[in-house]
């Protein structure tokens, strides 16, 4: 369980103390019905294409994952050792549900899938991610994305 009150120490205190900003504003962008949306996946599981440079530190950078990638070419180099990895080792969709998203696009439940998806390494202080996130917004607009699904690990 990921509920803090069900989690054993020292993990519980570690997670409770992670940097966690609060914001004065709550941005809100409306959009079309789901069936017309173009969806990109953004993971914080430290995913990357096999052969890319691995994640090495908490620098807030991200990796690009092409939409046509196959499971055998997607690997995980997140630095943390405190979350389950055997789920991902059995089935990438439990972390990065690209096959499920493809099905929803084929069935017309979403409009389309983005050409590119992205992965950060999530243990990073969110402040470190801000410049990269704002830069990423430009790339998503260039890909005509109007729905970003963020998936933690």
């Amino acid at each position: 369980m990921a509920q803090l009150d069900r989690m054993p120490e020292p993990m519980r205190s570690h997670l409770a103390k992670l940097p966690c900003p609060s914001f004065k504003t709550q941005p809100w962008v409306s959009g079309q019905p789901l069936a017309h949306r173009r969806v990109a996946l953004i993971s914080t599981a430290g995913l990357q294409r096999r052969g890319d440079r691995p994640f090495e530190g908490m620098t807030g950078d991200y990796k690009v994952i092409p939409g046509e990638i196959e499971a055998k070419d997607l690997v995980m180099t997140h630095i943390s050792t405190n979350f389950d990895r055997i789920g991902f080792q059995q089935d990438w969709n439990v972390v990065f549900p690209l096959d499920r998203l493809r099905e929803l696009a084929t069935e017309g439940i979403i409009g389309s899938m983005a050409d590119y998806h992205y992965s950060f390494m999530g243990a990073t202080d969110p402040v470190e991610m801000e410049p990269a996130a704002r830069n990423l917004a430009t790339l998503l607009k260039g890909d005509r994305v109007d729905a970003a699904l963020l998936v933690p690990v």
Binding site: M1, A2, Q3, P8, M11, C20, P21, F23, T25, Q26, P27, V29, G31, P33, L34, R37, V39, T44, R53, P54, E56, T77, I79, S80, T81, N82, F83, D84, R85, I86, G87, F88, Q89, Q90, D91, N93, V94, V95, P97, D99, R100, L101, E103, L104, I110, P126, M129, E130, A133, R134, A137, T138, L140, A147, A148, L149, L150, V151, P152, V153
Partner: protein, 245 residues
């Protein structure tokens, strides 16, 4: 995760997200979030369960049609149990590959090293079968023999024989550790008749019953005495999970 959503939405990209730690999401207040009661590492709930994954995915995507926000919705169901291994007896999953008892309790470092070599050799054919069956491996940088040798030599001789010149010593040790664990998992679960363990069952076996875990603890101790900050930090945080320290 929620901060990323805040930044993207403020740049004009509509976002929705899965939340694993509700307390964090309550603080950050991203525009749209689906909290799920699943284990860390499994945001879609369960591997090899497309129907369940689809429900989670759709529940998160449907928040995009909310009229106003921020919205934080709870997914109603726990992840389906990993029942595949629990039919075999009251102990649940047991690893089909068992290593002889005297090596498990071996403390002499040289013999631990020999045991690791034997474990890797015993598991190797099952790893080959796993790749055939699954069509992929989660090992990233090293083959099983290179990963185990790199870790052994560092643990016992303090030398890092890193064949990947572009990786720092700390990154090479961390990725060799992750690769070795992935190798043990893929090999141990590839044997005919073996079922998928729950994550806790695999962890207990790996950390309590293999020579590999003994080697990793020795690597950690060695790292903690190194002059290099990155190695000390890796030893302290990135090799052994908190609940196995």
């Amino acid at each position: 995760m929620g901060a990323l959503a805040h930044y993207l939405e403020s740049e004009g990209i509509p976002t929705t997200q899965i939340s694993l730690i509700r307390e964090h999401t309550e603080t950050i207040r991203p525009p749209r979030a689906l909290w799920v009661p699943f284990e860390l590492g499994r945001p879609l709930g369960a591997p090899e369960n497309p129907a369940f994954q689809r429900r989670v995915l759709l529940s998160a995507l449907e928040l995009l049609e909310a009229i106003q926000g921020p919205v934080l919705v709870d997914f109603p169901d726990e992840a389906p149990e990993d029942t595949a291994g629990s039919g075999e007896g009251p102990e649940g999953w047991s690893c089909p590959v068992s290593f002889s008892t005297e090596t498990r309790e071996e403390t002499d470092l040289e013999r631990l090293r020999t045991s690791l070599k034997r474990e890797v050799a015993e598991l190797r054919p099952w790893y080959e079968l796993s790749i055939e069956k699954r069509g992929r491996t989660a090992m990233v940088e090293f083959d099983p023999e290179t990963a185990s040798e790199l870790l052994s030599i560092f643990a016992f001789e303090g030398r890092l024989e890193n064949p990947k010149a572009d990786l720092s010593p700390a990154t090479a040790l961390r990725l060799a550790t992750q690769d070795l664990k992935a190798f043990y998992f893929e090999a141990a679960t590839a044997r005919p008749g073996s079922a998928s363990p729950a994550s806790g069952e695999f962890s207990r076996w790996f950390w309590l019953e293999t020579a590999a875990a003994g080697i990793l603890r020795a690597v950690k101790e060695r790292c903690l005495n190194e002059a290099d900050d990155a190695l000390r930090k890796t030893g302290a945080m990135f090799l052994i999970p908190m609940d196995q320290a």
